[in-house]
Amino acid sequence: MKKMAIVLSAIVATLGLARSSLAADDVIRFGVAAEPYAPFSVKDASGKWQGWEIDLMDAVCEHMKAKCEIVDIAWDGIIPALLEKKFDVIWSSMSITDERKKVIDFTDKYYYSPNVLVGARADTRAFDVSKPETFQGTAVAAQNASLQATYLQQKFAGVVDLKIYPTLDDEVADLLAGRVDLMAAAGIQIQDFLKKPEGQAYEVKVTLPHEQMFGYGDGGGVRKEDTALRDRLNEAIKAVRASGEYDTITKRYFDFDIYGD
């Protein structure tokens, strides 16, 4: 029995990297969804993460004087992975909503984006969110674990053919292929696609009304017990905004302010 205990503890010791409290070990791991989400977070051909959100993360970490690492994670498992301590902060354009607040805590928002449905310019149907019948028979794409998917499920179930995708760029692929009529996305992010040559034939068809379930902007997610980390992040975000760095970063990718009011 003693031998077993020794073997077991040896396994535990070799298996993991013992991580004590976060203050002592100043490496903060940021969980980013492992999919291209231009211009917020994209992995370029050399394997480096680039984008507005990555730049903001670097700025925030500089202010916190902490070393930051990025952990790739599938979007639809990002909250369980945070709770499982696979990383310490969700930093992947996650909207702050009451539903999510039941499970995790959030930093202050760092940008705000409305939610939209995008379709082909050639599609001349008059979509009206207040009249679900106008969507009858359309195929709509949404990402699993996204707010748009929840919204569509609740309001348009049975009216539309809702297709659930693991990542956003899969949605775009099917929109381009004509396999779906409409695609749910974040309004600001999807501009990146609409500006590209292949996005010229598409436009925003519907802006989803600002419902309570859509929350209060996008921010970083932390575990409920990590209040110290959350406060550090909030301080840093405020500092980045106050120093003008936020606007510098934003100007690199957008020609308007994405903070919202």
Partner: protein, 240 residues
């Protein structure tokens, strides 16, 4: 001509092309496969011994393990292990008095999830091989006064190896392909690298076909190596 050159650029090495990223992903796939394979072998050995032990609890546990792995989709088991197991493991550790504040890094967690699935398949392969080793061997060993543990490690295990070889080779080919499943928990191995490249450049068929080609190459090399090992082993091994 133009499209071919753009394909070559996309796949090339260096900053412009995704070729080096794909290779890096392939190395990660191999790494995960090897780790999961070894973890699976250890679990399989434990399971096989348990099934042959005669102890009812051990047999029941091992049977439950293999039955579950064989009837439930591997991706589901991987999700369960990856998204909930660390938590369960931690509470288990704290219950038994061990330090509970530890963290498994991503690679280890992914390899472990895959390894648990592999263990289920390995158990049957190893069990069959152990049983195939002539009964007379263990009887002769006990007549010579060897303990059960000595019998197992000195007599049975070495002879079981050649018999298990085809099965073990097959298990390797399986884990090589199964490693693609860890892409679904966000672990950036070959398939996920290809998927991200395809999504960023919109050249879907090119990248997915390339990934397929890389897997074919890896499977091909593996099969050739397995044949080599089998030939060498059978040449030096005389059937008793």
């Amino acid at each position: 001509m133009d499209s071919t050159s753009s394909w070559l650029t996309l796949l090339s090495f260096g900053d412009q092309g995704w070729g080096d990223e794909l290779v890096r992903g392939a190395c990660l796939s191999l790494g995960i496969s090897i780790s999961a394979y070894l973890i699976g072998l250890v679990l399989g050995l434990v399971g096989a011994v348990a099934k042959l032990s005669g102890n009812r609890v051990a047999i029941a546990t091992a049977s439950a393990y293999t039955t579950i792995i064989r009837s439930i989709p591997d991706i589901l088991i991987i999700f369960l292990v990856y998204y909930t197991a660390t938590d369960a493991f931690r509470s288990l550790m704290s219950l038994s008095g061990f330090p509970a504040e530890f963290q498994l890094n991503g690679f280890v967690a992914a390899a472990f999830s895959l390894g648990i699935v592999q263990g289920g398949y390995s158990t049957e392969v190893l069990r069959g091989a152990i049983v195939a080793v002539a009964r007379g061997q263990s009887e002769a060993a006990s007549a010579l006064g060897l303990t059960r543990r000595q019998t197992f490690f000195l007599i049975i295990l070495p002879q079981m190896f050649p018999l298990a070889l085809p099965g073990l080779g097959n298990l390797w080919l399986v884990v090589l392909k199964e490693s693609s499943l860890v892409s679904l928990i966000g672990f950036t191995e070959l398939v996920l690298v290809g998927k991200m490249a395809a999504g960023a450049t919109r050249h879907y068929l090119l990248f997915y076909a390339s990934i397929g080609a890389v897997f074919l190459i890896m499977s091909g090399i593996s099969t050739a190596l397995i044949h080599l090992v089998e030939e060498k082993t059978y040449r030096t091994w005389r059937h008793g």
